[in-house]
Symmetry: C2
Subunit: 310 residues, 2 copies
Amino acid sequence: MRTYPDCVPCGIRHALESVRMITDDERIHEGVLRETLRRACSMDLRQSPPATAQIIHRFIREVTNVKDPYLAVKDRYNKFALEIYPDLKQKIESSANPLETAVRLAVAGNIIDFGVNSVVEQGDVEQTITRSLTEPLDMGAFAAFEKAIEAATDILYLGDNAGEIVFDRMLIEQLPPEKVTFVVKGSPILNDALMEDARMVGMTDVVEVVDNGSDAPGTILESCSDEFRRRFDRADLIVAKGQGNFETLDDVDKNVFFMLRPKCKVLAEHLGCEIGELILRQSAAGTCRLGAKVERFKNFQDGTGKAVKQ
Amino acid sequence: MRTYPDCVPCGIRHALESVRMITDDERIHEGVLRETLRRACSMDLRQSPPATAQIIHRFIREVTNVKDPYLAVKDRYNKFALEIYPDLKQKIESSANPLETAVRLAVAGNIIDFGVNSVVEQGDVEQTITRSLTEPLDMGAFAAFEKAIEAATDILYLGDNAGEIVFDRMLIEQLPPEKVTFVVKGSPILNDALMEDARMVGMTDVVEVVDNGSDAPGTILESCSDEFRRRFDRADLIVAKGQGNFETLDDVDKNVFFMLRPKCKVLAEHLGCEIGELILRQSAAGTCRLGAKVERFKNFQDGTGKAVKQ
């Protein structure tokens, strides 16, 4: 997804909020503000918002000399999610369609995101979880997801945030473990899950976990390791969690199921939905492979080129 | 008031919203975005937010070739305020303290401001008016204002927005007309009142009206005409309406009564109040002249240098 003009002031605000989490030094705040403006001046709006965020957050880590500013936050959300894990696991197992319930909860878990709104309260998470069990979900996309899981031999599950990773584990526990590889980021970026989070929440006991070698808040393939890119090419199904992964992979030529709750107006408009909706959406390329070539052709005809709502 | 870091992303967002009101051409939106970023890169944060806004809105008018983008909006709000004028006038005249009621309404009228939030609904205005009659008002400041009106010989009332100017008229009708001069902006800036608005709402029939020769959304004295500056120097009491006038005059060495509803977190924090509160506040210089030298000295001692809440 390209960077929309509204992403620019939002990104600047977010850079300020991020640096304030690390230091009270107003000279550093101003330094980060000026560097963000300098970068924004010459930015290529055809790039995705995470491409700029990656550069800004590198600068913030460098100028504050704090390697992993969200370490304590990640730890707190992992612990919180682990506490509620047994109850939610029970909800999944006793539900009429455990895979559907697990998908709902995995999408709900995407509320734990400091990439867009910097403040997430535990109460919000609990409310979101409860609501997600009954909220509308695109059941056409879910049926396609079920089929795709069955047909796939090599599923790459791109994680998003710490805390949320526990919700990913619950969904992955409903999938054939031998098919799935879970992906974490290569090094700290915001509250995105790293290998230590995967270990902490027991993901490494469930499936293979690899890191993508990148510090982008999404999956910018050019920024990932060669090894990860080969892994990505080989996979026949991608599950991509969160706004950052959507923004960086929405036009990739792979069969991708995006799971997220859009957290800003720009993305909600791009997706044609409301902020906070449960989104399960297949990539245009995936829809096409599954026989919806006519739909895709129609999209190109009307110039949107976007995935069709199932 | 200096420009706080948070004013920068807010200003950029606002520039985008403003240009979108004028044209749907996305190339122009991007042009305004880039110009705003370029200006922001080199901005002096010691200057007030209206100083940057003045430059950006000049650029917007130039690039869109629309001299007065808010003309229709101003017209609509003048008409709306004139419609409710007789009722409100009646409320003032029948109230226990007409001057207090008129001050409350004049502050309430400051909700009609497109400088911070671009969308103001008529319903919001009506609700605000009703609430303003019973909301807390700093009665110490009001008592000082009453005394200052009595003592003054030359009152300069700095207007803010169209629509709001009808509320200013209601307050001015409670003051000795021979003492008061009302001030409008010299040329179009946002929805700020101009001479034609003063004529349209009958302000010119009540008191002398002059323009300040400037297109800043506030009162940046260096940007005003020599004639206006002389007028400003001569006045022994200033009434300054709205956020822009506060931001540009809060440290001026004059006896100023600021009347506004702060519309953003930054200003509310600067003032030590909540967003949307009715604010009537005397300048530090004014407080000092009226014998509160000790208070002011205390302010300088604790390093705030701000006006004391009465």
